[in-house]
Symmetry: C2
Subunit: 419 residues, 2 copies
């Protein structure tokens, strides 16, 4: 039986960057080459850049095995990312015609998009349009988000490395607090990313072990936050110990849905998906505590460090991201479209997991939150079940390739100017 000659592949990255998204890119590239595709194009700044004709040939970037290893260890979206939301097909047929014309011109067989919920929405719409328009291009999504909030998959690549960094940093922050005595006690509030899902904030509990008590309280955005109860809780903690460390999600909000950061009249930034960029929650709560209790306070925002800390990446995470990239390419090569690769966990300890392919229509725009039963009754900590879930995902290290005392990242001269 004659098989049709394989042509080209295009891959893009979308949404917030992570420490693992480039490992998935390396996985897509390797598998596409292994399966006989000619060119592997990379969209610059995702589908938004593609529409402006911005793309590269990845062969100019991944020339050696060392390049691939560097790419796996490079944080942030190598190709540049975007937060562009495709219009509905009925709203703007022209948008789709434009994209598909570019794919035709580039002789694309497979379109792989590495991203989170919003990116899977893109895969869904493009694969729907392919059906309507009779295009043979296959569209497959490769999951990625530090937020770990994608439906149907056990977890998402990028989460494990962020969780490892958070667990490690919170442990160091706690230890730092042991150092100095303060007259009225000290409260450190660590603000962690996660608008609606508490997966990242909960991972602060990974700092707990034989040598560390972990944070004294953890507040996830899944439950309403009550400032008065919080102050009472801190007062109680300060009676027991001089140094209190509390982890909070940037997205904690009151029972009416108002973000605690909005109490502070902070400046808001709203992205194309209508998401508010939150900031200053810890700072606001520190002001409340120093006013109400008189204790010394310190607000620490882990900020973009938590999503970019390749120097503290999890080996399980980086290898799974690579595997999932390969699996997405494999699925597209074998004819799947409108699908996303998911990770299925077979066992916790020893940890075993594999990949499967699921219909992207069941995934897009559906946020997976921390289950209520994985948060304690009082709403101030995660349970042991949460830890059992996340612990395997932070195992092992990926030694950075050090040059002159600093981790080296993949860089091709002149590429940055294209971004």
């Amino acid at each position: 039986m004659a098989t049709k000659e394989k042509r080209n592949v295009i891959v893009g990255q979308s949404g917030g960057p992570t420490a693992a998204i480039n490992s998935s890119l390396a996985g897509v590239y390797r598998t596409a080459k292994d399966r006989g595709y000619k060119k592997v194009y990379g969209m610059i700044h995702g589908v938004q850049g593609l529409m402006e004709g911005r793309y590269i040939d990845l062969a100019d970037h991944i020339k050696t095995g060392l390049d691939a290893e560097l790419l796996k260890r490079t944080p942030s979206a190598y190709l540049g990312s975007c937060r562009y939301k495709l219009p509905e097909i009925f709203e703007s047929k022209e948008t789709y015609e434009k994209i598909f014309q570019i794919l035709t011109d580039l002789e694309i067989d497979c379109f792989i998009y590495i991203g989170g919920n919003d990116s899977m929405d893109t895969i869904k719409k493009l694969s729907d349009y392919a059906i309507i328009s009779g295009s043979a291009v296959r569209f497959v999504g490769c999951p990625k988000t530090i937020d770990n909030d994608l439906a149907l998959t056990d977890h998402t690549p990028g989460y494990g490395s962020a969780a490892k960094y958070i667990g490690t940093s919170v442990k160091e922050i706690i230890r730092d607090g042991w150092s100095l005595e303060t007259e009225h006690g000290q409260v450190v509030i660590v603000e962690i990313m996660g608008r609606n899902a508490g997966w990242l904030t909960g991972s602060a509990a990974l700092s707990r072990g034989e040598d560390c008590d972990g944070p004294d309280a953890i507040y996830l955005p899944e439950l309403p936050f009550d400032v008065k109860k919080f102050v009472e809780k801190v007062k109680k903690l300060l009676k027991e110990k001089a140094n209190v460390v509390i982890a909070i999600s940037e997205g904690i909000h009151d029972k009416d849905g108002k973000y605690i950061s909005e109490y502070d009249n902070g400046v808001e930034y709203i992205d194309a998906f209508g998401h508010k960029q939150l900031t200053g929650t810890a700072r606001y709560l520190c002001t409340v505590l120093s006013t109400e209790i008189g204790c010394k306070t310190r607000a620490i925002e882990l900020s973009t460090l938590q999503r970019a800390a390749s120097h503290c990446a999890s080996r399980v995470d980086i290898l799974e991201a690579y595997e999932v990239g390969g699996a997405a390419m494999k699925a597209a090569d074998e004819g799947d479209s409108g699908k996303m690769v998911v990770i299925e966990r077979l066992s916790d300890d020893p940890y075993q997991a594999g990949t499967e392919v699921k219909d992207v229509h069941k995934i897009a725009n559906d946020e997976r939150l921390v289950p209520r039963e994985w948060i304690n009754k009082e709403g101030t900590y995660v349970t042991d079940e949460f830890i059992t879930y996340v612990r395997p995902l932070i195992q092992g290290d990926v030694g950075p390739i050090m040059v002159d005392g600093i981790p080296r990242h993949l860089f091709v001269p002149g590429f940055q100017e294209l971004l």
Copy 2:
């Protein structure tokens, strides 16, 4: 010739914690034991705790070689620290009588204090009092501060690890910025510790290399900061590139000496030495930029992470800290008092350095700043000479001892309660 039988040693930690201060503690302990001292006591919370009779026997904590390795990798002052300033001898003879009575009771021969400028002030006063009172106890200081602002020493243990963390994190922050495009550009301001000395802030330039341009501007506290000129500089940078990253010291101030953080009417905390705790400088400047330019901004404070990040420690730093601890103990054992160990650099590349002993009277309360000629003319970057100076200090890694995916620290059950 009959030598007097050796009795006991006491060691304390003082000032802000670092990732290397416990390696010096391990060095003091090892050398004291090697040189035949009976007990090595550790002051809990430095001389302040000692005066309340708080101390431990370090043999209960460092029982095995593995314990010593864990201690070297444990951030923050293991024994607890203090910011206690001893009164002048003529102001309160009772304070000194009390301390020396405790030293007599504990049969102390050598008193080692690991710390920065304020701690060397303590060594100076205690050694002076020993002379006045005819005490035979020897007092030797062991340098430690991430600020790197001690006089007479080439650099201080703790600085190299903090510099390595800052260089690594700033590089990851810069790369993270490449990911997303924003309409009016984005400016990230990274706020770094260092009240008067810019050694830490300057180390942000370590991120610069073949694969990274480094921050676009660096502002040290050595030179007056002009908000208007800063805004003009950023405007110019934004014309050249979409993502701008700027490193600033928490201690930048205007030509009249007013801290930029004070422009924001931020809450101030003043410690026992009259030092203001600064915060919010980056945040304030972000507000200025978004108001004046309309760009997207993000303020990132490296906060206590930069002094506690043992997971990213420099091998040169940790080994030198150990060596300096040993050298302080050796000096005291051999009869030195009122001295501090310093590091003398013999060559930059290959890096070679050794220890010497200097008079603490020449060191205490004298801040060593970044020389003017190591800052560019415009006052917006460090020179290559600065990089040549700091580069050797961040070389090599200290692999954390990982347990369950998280670095393990030294911990003795029940000890935390003593702190």
